[in-house]
Amino acid sequence: MYEWVTSISAWLIPFMIVFIPLYAAFKKVPVYETFIDGAKEGFGTAINIIPHLVGMMVAISMFRASGAMDMLASLIRPLFDSLGIPSEVLPLGLLRPLTGAGSLAFTTELIKTYGPDSMIGRISSTIQGSTDTTLYVLTVYFGAVGIRKSKYALKVGLFSDLVGFFAAIIICLFVFGS
């Protein structure tokens, strides 16, 4: 199953790069001109995102550097201990919705420290793989089209991160627990 899925992942993009223009050519679409036409949009879109991303990254970076992140973690830690959840993964849960690169670095650190096959290693791998950087996704997607009022999108995103975080822990404890 896993082999099968990885090979699909490896083949898919090259397949798309060949198949889409080929199919379009059969449909008498001027492929190169169309490509350039669509590609022009990409630059502007990426540039439009800059102010949004700078704003968010500044706030997140400050939040981490000020030690506010660690203070928040130490507030919640006793609750984790009482539930029998390894509290080492707690900062990861707080970090994940904020920064993809930051949480990946933290996961790598946990795996390095405790070993990939430890419970902490497995839980952190699962958390990292099953949640997403909500704030980044929101900033990029809504920033690109100029949405200012995100309505309930952020709440839903953060809620699903929370569910994903605890689901990862519970599932790992259940599957890998002795």
Binding site: G38, M56, S66, Y141
Partner: protein, 247 residues
Amino acid sequence: MVNIIWLFFIVISFVAAIMNGRMEALTEAAFEGAKSGVTVSFGLISVMVFWLGLMRIGEDAGLLRKIAVLLQPVVRFLFPDVPKGHPALGYIMSNMSANILGLGNAATPMGIKAMQELQKLNPEKETASAAMCTLLALNTSSITLVPTTLIAIRMTYGSANPTEIVGTTLAATLVATIAAIAADRWYRHRYRRKPPNSIGRNGTAMKDPPGAQGPPGNFDSEGFGGQGETARDNLLAAKHGKGEALV
């Protein structure tokens, strides 16, 4: 909401920096954050330019509409207010597939493109529509089949079984996705009752806007901001140079 979060981060950071005596680090972090914002955006340029070029070919060849039609049932359930055969659905599908297959780089441009298509349907350009919120919910919880990066890291640190987390990740991500869809649904219905931001499914939540001619209560006339589906289909058909509805 984002306004509050942003202000919260900055104010709390300042207070925490005082308490921890990290004021210099705070300045450095602010500029470092700004720099990485630009770096990330510039990193996006290459991928965005390439994928949007390729996707335009797909769109012009009619591939996106084909995909949208093929996956109609799922998308119909998740995005009830996007008209049938709309190009947004094709982009949404490509975005979801890219996420599922762990092709993060390819997913972002398609997601943005999907947002841009949904924005065309959005009656209030500065407020997210229900469909946009659903797309975001799917992306923040996105189902992952192969967490490639994680497997690579586990390999690097000598795991006996680097892929043993594939199953747990899939299960956790499934739970998160279901929770996200459920929460999205709940909010969607709550917001629908609040005019004028509401997007009525059958036009029932709308206060019968003057000039709306679609048959009310008809299953196929899911009103979007009071505009009948027929009108939208005609609009779409005109855009694609066809005289009939697209599906």
